[in-house]
């Protein structure tokens, strides 16, 4: 779309007209003017060079995903930073934390970094000096408690957050789905809830010992939610995320044996969904993450036990949260925008406020518009959405990243 790109680039100001502004301070009807990367005016009857219609829409701070896999470098056939970013902005995201389980692992100046590739500490201080303040072992939790203790002690001194993938591998590694009645019937090796809960429990204990800030990634079980709730009640500084699929899909999806539903941690039970939703509602779980994990069609056509885990999420998360969570829009935005920005430590540029002077990271969406999810319509290079054909409510209309309108009328501009 070179023509529109040129026209957008040449504009000096953008006005978002007629929307309901919802941010962490509250909500009110207002136009928003953006110029030179910043919000320069919020009020009635404002004008600008490029007019973005927001009638019937919510004008919100851009979404922040604490957990995505963009596959570059190493697996560009599944996703690239370009295709993943395009999907992200179409989903309303203005910041995405790319997980480092790439090939090779992202190990220098990126947002996140493999803390412990097995058994050695990462140079966190060097990386922290580059502005990195979230360290993760995603994809493979640190198994050795002594290594985790060292990492936490070291991290505590640097005031960085450790994001932990919680899974005791000796309990989980042979499994391909949640362990329970469904896996028993299907004859598929299971992953018990306890594989996650034991490590959550261990890391809460170690965080208490060391004073480290710990962020628990993709919490999937009722037991995990309860452990975190109890830890927070004692005043500990722990945070947690849950993925969209862990509050929208259950292990009964696997009765089809379709690897599209294979993910790690695995889809759990209806009771776990209830607990995760309750955790999101009462703030026990701070953030909704996508765990966006693109895989090529051929790998997702293998038998269930041979297919890789993971599903797409960036282009569907907001709609699913609006549709499936019985929460006010402001609460959904807390879970998807400003709380995750705080956890990642980018709340300076993702302040969660639509106010004069703020960097213009803005998401405009129609909370009522219904649409049907289709993998082939997505920007992602992969097609592995588990929601094919599902009708959802809430459609992103415009996305502005650092003052640039990258999505206009649900079309990516580059």
């Amino acid at each position: 779309m070179p023509a529109s790109l040129t026209s957008v680039s040449s504009v000096t100001s953008i006005v978002i007209k007629g929307g309901l502004v919802i941010d962490r301070s509250g909500e009110h009807m207002a136009d928003v003017v953006i110029e030179s990367g910043h919000i320069v005016a919020v009020g009635k009857d404002l004008s600008g060079d490029l007019v973005l219609d927001a009638s019937g829409c919510v004008v919100a701070p851009g979404l922040v995903d604490v957990h995505s896999h963009l596959r570059e470098p190493g697996m560009e056939e599944a996703e690239t930073i370009e295709s993943g970013s395009r999907g992200a902005v179409l989903g309303g995201y203005t910041a995405v934390v790319a997980m480092p389980n790439t090939m090779p692992a992202i190990d220098c100046a990126s947002v996140a970094r493999d803390v412990l590739a097995g058994e050695i500490l990462t140079p966190m201080a060097e990386l922290a000096a580059l502005g990195i303040n979230l360290f993760t072992d995603d994809g493979a939790g640190v198994q050795d408690p002594a290594i985790m203790r060292l990492a936490m002690e070291y991290a505590a001194g640097l005031d960085v957050t450790l994001a932990q993938h919680c899974e005791i591998e000796s309990l989980s590694h042979a499994g391909h789905m949640n362990e329970g009645a469904v896996s028993a019937k299907l004859g598929v090796a299971g992953i018990p809830a306890e594989a996650e809960e034991l490590m959550v429990s261990r890391d809460i204990a170690l965080a208490k010992l060391t004073g480290a800030k710990v962020h628990f990634q993709h919490m999937s079980t009722a037991g995990s939610v309860e452990l975190i709730r109890a830890a927070r009640a004692t005043g500990m500084s722990v945070s947690a995320e849950a993925t969209t699929h862990h509050f929208t899909l259950t292990d009964s999806c696997l009765e089809s044996y379709d690897p599209i539903f294979k993910v790690n941690p695995p889809l759990r039970t209806a009771a776990d969904i209830v607990a995760v939703k309750a955790g999101l509602a009462d703030g026990t779980i701070d953030a909704i993450a996508t765990d966006h994990a693109p895989h090529t069609p051929e790998t997702k056509e293998r038998p269930l036990d041979q297919a890789p885990p993971g599903m797409l999420g960036l282009e569907t998360a907001l709609a699913l949260a609006l549709t499936e969570l019985d929460l006010p829009i402001a609460d959904v935005l807390r879970l998807m925008s400003w709380r995750p920005a705080e956890i990642v430590g980018i709340d300076d540029v993702h302040s969660g406020k639509i106010e004069v002077g703020a960097i213009a990271n803005v998401c405009v969406f129609d909370p009522q518009e219904e649409w049907t999810i289709s993998g082939s319509a997505m920007a992602s290079k992969s097609r592995n959405t588990p929601y094919e054909g599902r009708t959802v409510r809430g459609k992103v209309r415009h996305t502005i990243v650092a003052g640039e309108a990258v999505v206009i009328d649900a079309e990516a501009q580059r």
């Binding site: 009645a181 019937k185 004859g187 598929v188 044996y257 056509e301 038998p303 036990d305 041979q306």
Partner: protein
């Protein structure tokens, strides 16, 4: 059968199973002829796609297909492009393109037969998928019991051994209960599925708890090769708790039937002489396996191609 595939016992109603049993009767009769062959599936082609070693199931299916005069196509992992890394989808589509009416699949991955139904127009018959299902084994075992006692209604059947990793146990429990039998799983907890919710069965943790109250002892092979961490301390201890030893065999009521899907570990789960005793049904199982698979092939392929074959009487003498 309403379905065009046979993937699990769940695809069948009790009435469907009854119908297959009656059909099997007529094929048992065919098998006893001097020339045990009928032209029922002449012109049909069945492909055998075996990703896992299986001498007896494969031979049984092949014999069944040949006795029905079907053409067969063999595709085994060792001698095909599968060993060169071809995907399951490509393999199935290749076979499909050659023009087959159905595929008999054995695969180590649970769910593989269901997966391939989307890539073929033909019928898919599950010849065993991982720990999941082995429906023709369950049908031949049901037939064998029916042959002995007329009906499974009220029959007390203990399935003994490694239930957790056994597709035979899963399918047999489903078939036996569907036909009115009362099934007990007998195993240490390490060899039971993580949940028993899917089956209407009771559980015992020692063979001695059930031995005086059963009509059938169905002994499973102790499959040490599938287990990373040994679920029992030793085979010796397993035999002590769960083996049908000579002493236990002496204790059995005279009319208790003993079954095993093979291959047997004589001396581990079953004492050496038991299978060959008058109570043992192992050779009946194997013999009936051919007739049951003839019934399944006939039912699936005759109805999908030529309805006039759907009556068992069409299976008339070929060489007569």
């Amino acid at each position: 059968m309403g379905a065009t595939h046979l993937l699990t016992i769940d695809d069948l109603s009790a009435a469907d199973i009854d119908e297959l049993m009656r059909l099997t009767d007529s094929f048992v009769e065919v098998s006893e002829r001097r020339i045990p062959k009928v032209p029922a599936l002449r012109g049909r082609t069945v492909a055998f796609l075996f990703y896992e070693d299986s001498t007896r199931t494969r031979l049984s299916f092949e014999t069944a297909a040949k006795r029905l005069s079907a053409d067969t196509m063999n595709f085994s992992v060792g001698s095909s492009s599968v060993s060169k890394g071809e995907s399951l989808r490509d393999t199935v589509q290749t076979i499909q393109a050659m023009g087959v009416d159905g595929i008999v699949l054995r695969h180590k991955s649970a769910g593989a037969p269901k997966l391939i139904t989307q890539w073929t127009d033909g019928s898919v018959i599950n010849a065993g998928d991982g720990w999941h299902a082995h429906p023709t084994q369950a049908l031949l075992d049901t037939y064998t019991l029916r042959q002995q006692r007329g009906s499974l209604t009220g029959m007390r059947i203990a399935i003994v051994g490694d239930i957790k990793h056994s597709r035979v146990a899963r399918s047999n429990a489903a078939a036996f209960t569907k036909m009115g039998a009362k099934v007990t799983f007998v195993a240490p907890k390490t060899l039971l599925p993580s949940s028993l919710e899917p089956w209407d069965v009771t559980v015992a943790h020692s063979i001695d708890d059930v031995i005086d109250e059963v009509d059938v002892l169905y002994m499973l092979r102790m499959q040490m090769e599938r287990q990373e961490r040994s679920p029992v301390p030793s085979l010796r201890e397993y035999t002590r708790q769960f083996g049908l030893t000579a002493q236990r065999f002496q204790r059995l009521n005279d009319d208790v039937l003993v079954m095993h899907p093979g291959p047997m570990n004589r001396g581990v789960e079953i004492a050496a002489d038991v299978p060959d005793s008058v109570n043992g049904l192992v050779t009946d199982q194997v013999r009936n396996g051919v007739a049951v698979r003839m019934a399944v092939l006939f039912k699936l392929f005759s109805t999908t191609s030529d309805p006039s074959f759907s009556k068992p009487t069409i299976a008339a003498p070929a060489g007569a």
